[in-house]
């Protein structure tokens, strides 16, 4: 990898370490070697900032994991801070953020030996933080917010994509039922995109200018709505049988 890539990686690392108060690195060049290995593993292009951030995060997760296993106070403090910051950034009140961070921190410590991949320590810790949030939400019977209300990303109008996808299905009973059962346009388009052209969530995400996660969540929620409707499943099964002569 060339000097320019190394310089970009160094910049990404220095920004992240300054922002998060990371102090476990005592040899920056050696750390950057580890981060570079992660960047190769993730097939990061030089300009792919999110990918490089991820490579640095994975390299630093290794150090955090070693520090936590050795019961280093600095590692514990940095993990706790990451959980606390994230809970706050996700819009929790200061009181809730601290409570969530405390609970997640304890669970991380007690489950640390079960972690499969130390490079994923921070992502795993955020999964545990999310489990804490999920548990609390279940206690307060939180209902899922509809995707249409999400404003985090500016997306292309999914209805434009839908218009192109349904050309061959205009007037078809299958389309009418899908539109009825999946009122959310993004969820519906994510399902139709797979149905009509075999598109994966990554493809749908590219067309709509949204994240893979967003497209995937939309598609799977759409599928879950259809699967829950026994009448639709019966109709779909019969439609498919008729196309193969019931064989």
């Amino acid at each position: 990898m060339d000097d320019s890539f190394q310089a970009t990686l160094r910049n990404v690392w220095r920004r992240q370490s300054a922002r998060n108060g990371w102090k476990l690195v005592d040899d920056e060049e050696r750390f950057l070697d580890t981060a570079r290995v992660e960047a190769v593993f993730l097939a990061c292009a030089e300009a792919a900032l999110k990918c490089l951030q991820q490579a640095v995060l994975r390299a630093y997760s290794l150090l955090l994991h070693q520090g936590l296993r050795a019961r280093r106070d600095q590692a514990a403090a940095e993990l706790y801070r990451a959980l606390h910051y994230t809970a706050l950034s996700r819009g929790r009140s200061p009181t809730d953020a601290e409570e969530y961070a405390q609970e997640a921190f304890f669970r991380v410590l007690e489950k640390l030996p079960t972690l499969r991949e130390p490079r994923s320590l921070l992502a795993w810790a955020f999964r545990i933080l999310s489990t804490v949030a999920q548990d609390r939400a279940a206690q307060t019977a939180r209902t899922a917010e509809p995707l249409d209300n999400e404003t985090a990303e500016q997306i292309a109008d999914p209805l434009d994509l839908e218009a192109g996808l349904i050309e061959g299905l205009i007037g078809a009973e299958l389309l009418r039922r899908i539109q009825q059962l999946i009122p959310n346009s993004l969820e519906r388009v994510a399902v139709l995109d797979d149905m009509m052209r075999g598109a994966k969530p990554g493809d749908t995400a590219t067309v709509l200018g949204i994240s893979q996660t967003h497209a995937r969540t939309a598609k799977y929620r759409g599928l879950q709505r259809l699967r829950k409707n026994a009448e639709f499943m019966r109709f779909l099964s019969e439609l498919t049988d008729s196309s193969t002569g019931g064989s």
Binding site: L42, A43, E110, E117, W124, M195
Partner: protein, 222 residues
């Protein structure tokens, strides 16, 4: 497959809706962090065999899909928030006492939780047919509310070592004790008498450990 667009689409949709779920929630939970990382890095996860079973599971399990979405959003929030919140983050541990053989730290929070790190003494082999009991810790924890008493004893026989924990506390069965030893963890829940017994680790693991860590607190969820 026929050339009829509706039937082609129906067949593809039916296949997606009727795939058997190949994994359980626990297996899904273990893989979600890696999926979220790979997606964020821009990898083509749909064609990665590592995630094939997880993706089928997520398409069918609302709870795991919600967890996946929350995890991705948390990672995004951590990496993309330009500046960290200005609020001060307190230290997670408070050192309550430390001496040559033990360090006791409480975890910050309204819930009483603490960690006891015990230095392992040099262990001599156990004679054939005999057993030994070594008290590693036996003190009252005045620093914690309720001042529980805690004793940790290492009982060794030829067969298998065991750690016996005695927690004198109002409701000992509400607690759990985790032993973190090397790359493994062992869990025990005290009985009404406050006794919890940790087994399953080897003499070799104990001998090679410089210290053992006990995490003690109320039971938590997965």
């Amino acid at each position: 497959m026929t050339a009829d667009p509706e039937q082609n689409a129906a067949a593809r949709l039916l296949a997606a809706l009727t795939q058997p779920d190949p994994i359980d929630h626990a297996a899904a939970h273990a893989l979600i962090p890696e999926l979220v990382e790979a997606e964020r890095a821009g990898a083509d996860v749909d064609d990665d065999p590592r995630f094939a079973a997880l993706l089928i599971h997520l398409s069918q399990c609302e709870t795991c899909l919600d967890l996946y979405e929350r995890t991705a959003e948390a990672l995004e929030a951590f990496l993309d928030t330009p500046e960290p919140p200005t609020i001060e983050t307190p230290e997670p541990f408070t050192l309550l006492r430390r001496n040559a053989y033990a360090a006791l730290r409480s975890l910050r929070g309204a819930i009483r939780r603490f960690e006891l790190s015990l230095t392992m003494p040099a262990l001599q082999p156990v004679a054939v047919g005999s057993s030994t009991t070594l008290t590693l810790f036996d003190e009252q924890l005045h620093e914690l509310s309720g001042a529980p008493e805690l004793a940790v004893m290492l009982i060794r026989t030829e067969a298998m070592p065991m750690l016996r924990i005695r927690l004198h506390e109002a409701s000992p069965t509400d607690w759990q004790v985790h032993l973190l030893l090397d790359d493994a963890r062992f869990l025990a829940i005290p009985g009404p008498d406050g006794i919890a017994e940790l087994r399953g680790f080897t003499e070799e693991a104990l001998r090679s450990a410089r210290a053992i860590d006990l995490l003690i607190g109320p039971a938590t969820q997965a």
